[in-house]
């Protein structure tokens, strides 16, 4: 296991380096410069400013400088928000993004689990059909559409929750719900399938034969076994949610990280683009890694297969 983790760590660093290098050169191919007022600036003034930013150097030199600073943990200063450290900008936005993301996962699990269990127990009934409809909608309706619908109907028409903005917990409910659609769908489908399989097992008959109550049979024996495989899909889903939040944050006006990602690309804010890319990449690479390790812990078959390598 130790060797496996070491090996994976090296792969992770290499992956990250490849991402950094690609992004660095690609972003410099984007048209325009990081100047906000580019259209109007007299050419002489432009030269001066580019020099101040260190952008007059050849690209490979800039690349080496960037890597050097990165090793010292310095992502540089944003161009569009003069004077602000990119790290500062990222950590200003991350808590809000994380909160909405985590809540989305929680909502998704709770609702998805409930739907899945009901669907499995009442197979073929209207409840099962309803769960299927919800799952299909959850997969096929993009979260930004769901966000718009929720904001308008729940926020403006019904006045139950604030349609946008940030500040109280109420503000976080709609965005989290909008984001959780996919989790609900995947979770309910997964749980339903697993439950049905488990319910057909011999040991379920034994449990019933022992005279246990229906609730005990379902929750202690069936759900518990159905849950284990379902947990493994949470990793990829969480990643989905992190990236899906980009649009949701714009729609609900959440002070998260999404704006930084989108806007820095729009205005060629090179340090911010690199900072956010590295942050997201590390987040995703590490979550994939953690999920892989978890697979091994949850399902011994994977661990054994890994050990044989």
């Amino acid at each position: 296991m130790g060797r496996y983790i070491l090996q994976r760590s090296i792969y992770m660093i290499v992956t990250l380096w490849v991402i950094i290098t690609f992004t660095f050169f690609l972003m410099h191919f984007m048209p325009g410069s990081p100047l906000q007022n580019e259209e109007r600036i007299p050419p002489k003034l432009k030269e001066t400013i580019m020099k101040e930013y260190g952008l007059d150097q050849p690209l490979p030199v800039q690349y080496v400088q960037f890597l050097g600073n990165l090793f010292q943990g310095d992502l540089g200063k944003s161009f569009q928000y003069n004077g602000r450290d990119v790290t500062e900008l990222i950590f200003q936005g991350f808590p809000a993004s994380a909160q909405v993301g985590i809540q989305a996962v929680i909502f998704g699990i709770v609702i998805g689990l409930t739907l899945g269990v009901i669907a499995a127990l009442r197979r073929g009934s209207w409840a099962d059909n309803l769960a299927t409809v919800v799952a299909v909608l959850g997969v096929s309706v993009p979260s930004f559409l769901l966000a718009g619908i929720l904001s308008f109907y729940v926020g403006v028409k019904l006045l139950w929750l604030p349609p946008a903005g940030w500040g109280t917990w109420q503000h976080t409910i709609l965005p989290s719900l909008a984001l959780s659609g996919l989790v609900i769908a995947q979770m309910s489908r997964y749980i339903r399938t697993e439950m049905l399989e488990v319910l057909g097992q011999d040991y379920m008959k034994t449990a019933k034969a022992k005279g246990l109550s229906r609730a005990t049979v379902v929750f202690r024996h069936a759900l518990r076994n159905a849950l284990i495989p379902a947990v493994t899909i949470l990793g990829p889903l969480t990643i989905n949610i992190i990236t899906g939040s980009l649009v949701i944050e714009q729609i609900f006006g959440i002070p998260g990280m999404a704006w930084l990602f989108v806007q820095s690309i729009q205005v060629n804010d090179y340090p911010a683009i690199m900072g956010v890319t590295i942050f997201y990449s590390v987040l995703i690479i590490v979550s994939i890694f953690v999920v892989d390790i978890l697979y091994g812990i949850i399902d011994p078959r994977i661990r054994i297969a890994g050990a044989k390598e």
Partner: protein, 537 residues
């Protein structure tokens, strides 16, 4: 297992509620008390007035800072930090007398604060993108580009209350410029105390405007409070302003409709139909013109004046502005109607219409032009433009007009804004849908674009008569004569040469609650001025 699972869910939920509580629970700040709630379309990128370049910062700075002059509701400069001023007979030296005004920390506003701020913006190491707005000042450009020293710049504090400014040339718009952000005063001691951190947080700067910045939740909201040290505080009726940062227009409208916002500036044009009949809907004319530019360097056929004129006359801009983009008025010339003529009157009121839609005339001109070029048909060309919704609609409409009215075929190419600029700059286009907004309140900010080899003259338009008129007008101390020269120049550019095809003058679209009175709008620089706002109950 199940219990523990649900328990951990509950813990996570509680934790996330706590997380949001840490952010500080905010009161619902709708239209309660004497506080205005306004949508901001983004985080203010930079409140260091020497460096700011964007609308959001300009708007906020205009509320918390003040220059020598402040623009009134007719865009006329009124004495602000300056109590009075005198202009020398050659119109090249301005002497401002400052009033007894205080900074928010109680220290007096001094003439030295202006000299310091302006020279700081011009210093090459400040790398200010708007430094060129100070170029009317003597030797400002030279200092900014490293060819002169700071002492040579024509701004000098004669004493604490007297500021003397020398200009490169007589300028009818210089007084108005002193209301612009780059011309605000700055305190040397404060700027140096915070260094790179200056103006990054509300407590790392000082204010001399009607309001002070009270709090700033980055990327979420910022709130202003009335400035008790402001010289004209009796006029300021608002206790404060809450800006909520909402990027999506649709979300801002949702908040407006649920009474969470009083003012939503800058709607996008797709909301015009839904709101135009409501009393909340306001059109604010900007100083922005949309126009077609022809690449005469590259395309021989576009060098023919009759062909250019045909294209200019062959597009019904009435329908374009009223039914397609819906966010403007059809242009009858290049200079938008909001700008001054420099002689105390609006430029457009003194200049006739130079563009007229005439399908039949256009057809005739095109036929003649093509004959002169020895062509039977206009070659298919590419029409370049932005990839925003409104630009795409405009491009589509222009394509249709050219096809049905003139039989000209164009292929549309929509690209991101920066890409459009890049292609225009490199001459990598045939016909491009461009847009220009005023830098200062004078027709010259539009007209001098098209001098031979001008930086924004992308199509290579050149007419020595036009160049001569612009050059003369720029140095002319007789502002009535100057106006005549500018009108003559515009006639050559637009009517005689059809060097460009002006399409429409853009409006800003706002939602404002009817009880909000006294909100002043400007066509450029800071969008809005909140100083005179009152709220009817």
């Amino acid at each position: 297992m199940k219990k523990r699972f649900y328990l951990s869910l509950v813990i996570l939920l509680v934790a996330s509620m706590l997380l949001s509580a840490c952010g500080g629970v905010q009161q619902n700040t709708g239209a309660s008390g004497n506080v205005l709630t306004v949508r901001s379309d983004g985080e203010p990128p930079n409140l260091d007035s020497a460096i700011s370049t964007d609308n959001i910062s300009f708007n906020l700075l205009n509320a918390v800072m003040e220059g020598l002059m402040r623009l009134d509701k007719n865009n006329k400069p009124q004495p602000a930090m300056a109590e009075s001023y005198t202009i020398s007979p050659d119109k090249k030296t301005y002497t401002f007398k400052l009033r007894d005004a205080k900074w928010s920390d109680g220290k007096p506003v001094r003439a030295q604060d202006f000299e310091y701020a302006w020279k700081r913006a011009l210093a090459p190491e400040t790398a200010s993108e708007y430094a060129y707005i100070l170029y009317p000042i003597l030797n400002a450009e030279k200092y900014n580009t490293g060819k002169a020293k700071a002492e040579d710049v024509g701004v000098k504090a004669l004493d604490d209350k007297t500021l003397q400014v020398k200009l490169e040339a007589p300028s009818p718009y210089f007084l108005g410029l002193t209301s612009f952000a780059t011309y605000y005063p700055q305190r040397k001691d404060i700027v140096e105390k915070y260094g790179k951190e200056y103006a990054l947080e509300p407590n790392k700067m000082v204010y001399n405007g009607p309001f002070v910045l009270a709090s700033w939740q980055h990327n979420e909201s910022y709130t202003l409070k009335k400035n008790p040290n402001y010289w004209d505080k009796a006029t300021v009726k608002l206790d404060g302003i809450n800006f909520k940062i909402v990027k999506e227009v649709s979300s801002a409208i949702n908040l407006y409709n649920t009474n969470n916002l009083d003012v939503v500036p800058r709607l996008s044009q797709e909301y015009v139909d839904a709101y135009k009949s409501k009393p909340d809907f306001k059109r604010v004319p900007e100083a922005v013109t949309s126009y077609l530019e022809f690449n005469m360097k590259k395309e021989k056929v576009l060098r023919n004046v009759k062909i250019r004129k045909a294209i200019q006359m062959g597009i019904d801009t009435n329908i374009l502005a009223n039914n397609i983009t819906k966010d403007g008025k059809p242009a009858t010339g290049f200079v938008p109607p909001t700008l001054q003529g420099g002689n105390g009157k609006l430029y457009r009121e003194q200049a006739p219409a130079f563009v007229k839609f005439n399908k039949d005339e256009a057809k005739k001109l095109l036929a003649e032009g093509l004959k002169e070029e020895g062509l039977s048909q206009f070659p298919t060309m590419e029409l370049l433009g932005d990839d925003t919704d409104v630009a795409k609609k405009a491009l589509q409409y222009i394509k249709e007009q050219l096809r049905t009215n003139l039989g000209i075929n164009v292929n549309i190419r929509s690209v991101p804004f920066k890409e459009r600029l890049e292609r225009s700059k490199n001459g990598n286009f045939q016909i491009v849908l461009s847009r220009w907004g005023a830098d200062y309140d004078d027709a010259m900010t539009f007209l001098d674009l098209f001098v031979t080899n001008g930086g924004f003259n992308r199509g290579g338009y050149s007419n020595p008569k036009f160049d001569e008129l612009i050059k003369k007008a720029k140095m002319n101390p007789d502002f009535n004569q100057r106006l005549q020269q500018m009108v003559e120049a515009e006639k050559i550019l637009v009517q005689d040469d059809a060097g460009i095809a002006p399409l429409y003058w853009r409006d800003r679209l706002n939602l404002e609650r009817p009880n909000v009175k006294g909100l002043v709008h400007h066509p450029f620089g800071a969008d809005d001025d909140f100083k005179w706002v009152t709220l009817d109950k």
